[in-house]
Symmetry: C3
Subunit: 666 residues, 3 copies
């Protein structure tokens, strides 16, 4: 793939999804006028426009889109042009009802919402590449088009289809992966419950079964479904690369684990020219700004540390959560600039103009149904001005202080049925460890569980593994190498248990990580809901844990730093420290949260030689650096003015709820 220069012509983006087909023509000029008023520099266009562009099979209506792109271009607004392949028209489904996806229970879903796609369906694949080709031919060289937006949020609302066409494709994918049935039978452990296959044709998707379905079959099906969708993305991308040379291609990710676990963004990020992301605050009782920071850090990480773009977020409340509160005054700007601080090349919204009809009319937008005389519009235009003032930071990068391992594949595996406790939740551990680091004002770079042996302890003095259930054998040796060279490793329970086939590593738990941690686990002993145990540190400190306990047997050289003080595993090690070479490997054998977890993290930070930053809670200080300079983002989520210390020793004020960007003198 000859990857074009990523986003040379893309301005620092401010704007949103623009769906002009929802509005009569007379509104379009008003839209463009108001976009200019708001400082909009880019819009995502045509994401859902297939039926409007091709109202009948093969009969295209380009005129309206020509007009809209022309209007935008005339106003100097760049276009992120969508391929509308997430919404095949009604006529397509009438002709090809088999393109509708089928659930595990065999229900063929219907037209009437969005994303009703069987990614294996050959008619869908043909139609999607055809419309993509037609678009690329018409607009591939249009000067307004600076980015291609393929499809929409792959994997949402459904990723996997369980139809017979998928079944055949799955068998093909398995032959590719395993070559022989013996290899598949071994990997899947089909000898258990008598599931051996004697012919490839016997294999079906993991449809609804009487008892729990073979876990590796399920896991491989998830991987297969991810691969099918990815192949469809690649097919469109390659057409665009050919017909629209020099224009980068993206598809909007939903990287935050809070937004779903459908696809593996480590793999997807390799296929896009520019990583773009959608992020929404989840009203789930967690601190929303912490989760936003995690999402932005993780997006930057899948983008390889390089620039990325926030393609969707909300100006205020959304419509699809159980409860959709409004954002507070100033909160939108904090959200938007918080993403920019962590590497986004701008801030875009879903959507430009609030819908009057359909499923999402209660989703707030840059331009409300009530027009421009309201707080929302005033904050949008303010933000537009602020973003415009930051044009210089294009191309700069945010640098993480510490590293954390995250794997979608392991999360999928862990999320299957019949684990020791149904409350084991890799995302929760990710969030909690991230929160502890966030509260120490540390910026986190995420890493996949591959190639960790080459990780530089100077660059990342601390590496946290919040929960890596599934880990190939090599991961243990890699981590050992990192520690031996001076790294500090902090591993949480239920890590290193199985390999990539969901097969237990031989020997005692935690199979892949026994050596680096210097211990074995004799037995898991999950706690019941509501049950807690006390953990007591050798230094007299005391913690309250829940969810999990286990019998840890520290080996030679492994120091017990804290023990279970009560409960069924009382007396056993709960927190250990293993010196390996010039580094140390910590292991936490139970679930701590909040201040308790922070204390443990502090122990590891001390080992790593990382000293505390002097900042109040809920104030972020994040740095973007590059050729154009160094930009310090101070984001104040508190209700009081705070002062931050700048490199020259001066103290600068950040107003309550405000964001300030300090540029280092050059």
């Amino acid at each position: 793939m000859p990857s074009p220069a990523p986003h040379d012509r893309l301005p620092l983006a401010f704007g949103g999804d623009y769906n002009p087909e929802q509005w009569p023509r007379e509104v379009w000029e008003e839209d463009v006028r108001l976009m200019r008023e708001a400082g909009v520099t880019a819009v995502s266009l045509g994401v859902f426009s297939w039926a409007r562009l091709e109202p009948r099979p093969g009969a295209y209506d380009w005129e309206w889109l020509d007009t809209v792109i022309g209007l935008l271009h005339g106003a100097g607004i760049a276009v992120n042009l969508g391929t509308p392949t997430v919404v095949p028209p009604a006529w397509f489904y009438r002709a090809h009802p088999d393109a509708l996806p089928v659930t595990r229970e065999g229900v063929r879903l219907a037209f009437g919402s969005r994303g009703a796609i069987c990614h294996s369906n050959p008619e869908y694949r043909a139609a999607a590449t055809t419309i993509t080709r037609a678009l690329a031919e018409r607009y591939g060289s249009h000067p307004a088009v600076v980015l291609w937006h393929v499809h929409n949020e792959y994997g949402a609302p459904v990723l996997a289809c369980y139809c017979d066409v998928c079944a055949a494709a799955f068998r093909g994918w398995l032959r590719e992966r395993y070559d022989t049935l013996d290899a598949l039978n071994h990997a899947w452990g089909t000898a258990f419950w008598g599931q051996q296959y004697g012919d490839w044709e016997e294999i079906t998707p993991p449809r609804a079964t009487p008892s729990v379905c073979n876990p590796t079959q399920q896991l491989d099906y998830h991987r297969f479904a991810d691969a099918q969708a990815r192949a469809n993305f690649v097919a469109e991308r390659d057409i665009l690369h050919r017909l629209s040379p020099g224009v980068p291609v993206t598809t909007n990710f939903m990287v935050a684990p809070s937004q779903g676990q459908t696809v593996d963004y480590w793999a997807w990020a390799k296929e896009v020219d520019l990583v773009t992301n959608d992020h929404y605050l989840m009203t789930d009782g967690r601190r929303t700004h912490v989760n936003l920071a995690l999402a932005a850090d993780l997006t930057r990480s899948v983008a390889g540390g390089g620039p990325w773009l926030l393609l969707e977020h909300a100006t205020s409340g959304v419509n699809w959560q159980p409860y959709n509160p409004a954002k507070r005054p100033g909160e939108m700007a904090r959200n938007s600039l918080g993403h920019v601080a962590r590497g986004s090349e701008g801030a875009m919204f879903f959507q430009w103009r609030q819908s009057q009809s359909g499923a999402e009319k209660f989703h707030t937008a840059m331009l409300a149904n009530s027009g421009t005389d309201n707080r929302g519009w005033r904050e949008v235009t303010d933000l537009g001005r602020r973003v415009a003032g930051l044009a210089d930071l294009r191309g700069t990068r945010t640098r993480g202080d510490v590293a954390m391992v995250w794997s979608w594949d392991s999360w999928w595996a862990q999320s299957l049925e019949w684990r020791p406790s149904q409350d084991l939740d890799a995302r929760e551990r990710l969030d909690s460890f991230y929160e502890a680091l966030y509260d120490r004002h540390l910026t986190v770079d995420f890493l996949p569980p591959t190639g960790l042996g080459d990780l530089d302890p100077e660059r990342y003095p601390l590496l946290v593994v919040p929960q890596l259930y599934s880990a190939p054998v090599g991961v243990g040796a890699d981590l050992e190498r990192y520690v031996a060279r001076g790294g500090t490793l902090l591993v949480s329970f239920f890590s290193g248990i199985v390999d990539e086939n969901d097969t237990l590593h031989p020997g005692a738990y935690p199979g892949a990580l026994r050596d680096v941690l210097g211990l074995t686990v004799e037995e898991f002993d999950p706690l019941l809901p509501g049950e807690t145990v006390s953990v007591r540190g050798a230094d007299g400190s005391s913690y309250t844990a829940d969810l999990w306990s286990e019998v840890v047997l520290p080996g030679a050289g492994c120091e017990t730093v804290a023990v279970f003080a009560d409960g069924r595993t009382a007396g056993g090690a709960a927190l250990t420290r293993h010196a390996v070479g010039s580094g140390t490997a910590w292991y936490l054998a139970t679930r701590l949260t909040g201040a308790d977890l922070a204390t443990v993290v502090d122990l590891a930070l001390a080992d790593a030689g990382i000293t505390p930053v002097d900042l109040p809670r809920d104030v972020e200080l994040v740095v973007r650096e590059g050729e154009s300079g160094t930009f310090r983002f101070a984001v104040n989520h508190t209700g009081s003015e705070v002062k931050v210390v700048l490199p020259d020793g001066s103290r600068a004020a950040v107003p309550a709820g405000g964001v300030e960007v300090f540029r280092d003198p050059r």
Copy 2:
């Protein structure tokens, strides 16, 4: 439709559903003897008798029904004769399995319960009219038959079917409604998510979809399903009118919103000769007698204020709720006479004799399985005597004091997915405002949201709109006219938001009601579960609210009567009062309940010039008036004797838990 005189030959009814086919012949004579002992004047007969009447296709067995009707007629008991079209026989389904309804997920439901009907199925329609014709031919002139009971509880247990026959009928219904596809595409907002239709044949029912299905498609399907069932009712009714002239036709409604939201009784009431209703106390933590009063008031209202008949209620516990407590001594009579007070021409039960088998054998009945030596029977016979003593009030009417707007169509629309808060609940607001008025001893007449411009403020000094999410544009002007002429209007939040197509009214919320209320709402800000905010009145009063807050911007002439004292919208208006002409329009922007809501209602009542009635809580005083006189029903739900003041100033006692009917001297 040549409507017959509604119920000239129908006595003041006391009795119940009579299902003699469940019992051997020797029991029938005992039944009739005991009915006389109990004072039974009417029974509903044959509602589930299709398989007994037509055991094989086209082969009728009339003999048993001839006998039963003869026995009843001989005893002077009137017959409300059922068309058994809610339960086609097993042979019918074996011949026509496609007549079984299909769920959204494509599951074709099976025979074995009741009401397994696809209302679009042509074979069902043909069979239903054939059996109706046969019944009408045989019994249309029988002197015992004073009312026809078509079908049973249309819409329960299922209203909508999603089969292909329904899909085709739906398309026909849509062509009728919209005429052109352009109109449909506009009304449904199909431009959102690329759902435009280019051919009528592309349209399907709102079956299970990957994400949320188009809301207007869902709403129209609900309307279509209602219309299909109604058309089947009309087809049966027209046969009966032709073959049984002079005998009114009804079908038993379930008007209480607590009983379901399936059909639109404003529309149905226009089609029946006499409104009849089924009502059951719901053990859902609400005050059951208040909900009973609401149900009776609403039933009278759909009957246009005229007489109606309670066709089913329970003597004591039912069987189909999660928990089915018994009624207390005296409670049955309070329930029965409470309905009569509010306009019912009698009180009938499901059912006469308790079943020994089948799904409802634990439903109590007038005659228990244990016979007549029990409290239940003694109370039934007492009640029979009381009803007999009230024969004179036939034809009198109950007059409401204040009015309230209720719309099934708006309730359906609001109940769809992706509203700002999933706890928005029009029925809850209806109940709560009703309860506040009930506790002021006010009788309520309900009105649909049409024709309100002609409402006479003298007749109804107060009009309450508890939650009218969906309101055509004209509603605002109508309400303004009502207020300008001196009416007092009280509107609760999330009203006037969309039009009949679930499309947002243009401009700021609350689109249709901005002018009459004299304000705009800048943004919705739903509260989270468990979250409350304080509301403080200009008079120093203080309230606790939950569920909802919003940013209200009062316009000129709109007075802020109370503000949000804390929470995210602190300082903003929570209760406003807008003087329009000689009236006032109140707006409550959050959810209050209980005493807090009552206080707000009192403010509006004061504006309306309605003075408090001097009665203890939980004592009702309801008046029926007509040519035969004025009857004052005093219903005492308390555990103590109370005194009520009569027009002549005398004070009359009503015993604890008792009901007294005082007839004004003529």
Copy 3:
């Protein structure tokens, strides 16, 4: 059926399920070596091996099984050889997809877990008998094979299939049961809701219906599904009896009601040569050792009081519960020997070696994935030694002190929809009454509700009926005969309500039991969740009850021992005592638990002349007796040493958490 001598060649069993096909050949010799080290005497082999034994249709691979059986035999380990008919191979389903079971909603379940069987499918039946025949021919005379293990846990994970083949078979079963359609229509009460059948072909399984499906149809379908599975067992058994004469045949039951309600073990026990049982501790908040004792007592009871065998339990945590805590040190031995105390001829586990792959890899095993250097292995080998030391007790029997009635059929009927309260729960009453007796250190024999008229009051001075919703008429007379001859009967509410067709007994509740209890129940009055009532005894005692109240009318000679002190039934009888002949019949009209229930049970025990045993709570003393002697098992579930009194008056110590077996001197 010529039943072979039950288990002459079966040693006192210690071992587990052995699935060598999950492991390479080199592991097998290590397995056998370690089995000897652990004292293993028997293994269950080949339960899931169909695909390994018959990798292609008709092509058998015996070699590996010959080898394994040879290895085991060489080590003196007996084999319980499985027929693998619970897991037809993938090739079978590819050839016969109709053999996959169908849910009530019409979903045909897929291959990929286990037990995906339609028991009516003729191809499945043919294939199952063919593989059984092949196994029996090859191994029927092998000296190692001492027991046949047919299938696995019939009824789990699914019992009933709802396909068309089952529908036809159901009709055949119904013709057999009812002979005429009139009889079926009467039994099912089809006159209710117009469900009369005019042709057998009209009848279908109780598939998903719009409202509640006919209860007797559902109940009969459950009986039919049980019978279909049982017929398949019998077909295999008869082949084994013919081809492997003298070797007893079993299938592993799951008798504990906590493990499911699928099949009727009173019926199944008649078909097996030896009752075997699987039992797992359920982490559901109940006292696990009490439920274990119940399971063991009930298993012994379905085995007619004779020896039985615990075929599966877990060494520590399982994997399939929501939370799977580990067993405490010593707990496994208490569990194992607790079963032996109550009649088990040994203690076997699922499984010998922990799986590395598949759905149950987190299920603990005798030999953990980590090998032998751990507490688990040490406890297993200790237990092996203890079991070996108990060889003499083979063939002895455990004697129950009191009797309790339990009926799966009644439980099924009660569990259907639309009972007076959805929280009525026969299993809960069973557990609670059992617990009260357990806490009095009484061993319980369970009885089906048949033949109770011949029950000897000398043998069982107390008979408890914790909840027998469904009781044929004769049960009342039988119980009356038992009481009249001196028995003490204790009946709890909601018993004797319906007959075997789920038809109410005529007359007042509790129909079948009015005479023996000397009372009638005028009305049920279930309590709401959270609602409690007080019960006050004539002796001043006071209790708190929930779930249920009712209006009891004691007849002549029926003494009111306690009344409802408050609530809706205040003043009415809550506990009564009816003298009949030389015995008494107690009736408890509400739900008591814990100490309150124990007090009522004590009243009945006093009537029965049973005096308290002097033992601390949570210490069991259970006796096995027979030709080889008398063995007293003392099981100490407490954390302290306790002393038990032996027949010679001496006091013997039982350590904290320990088990001691005392043999009476001969």
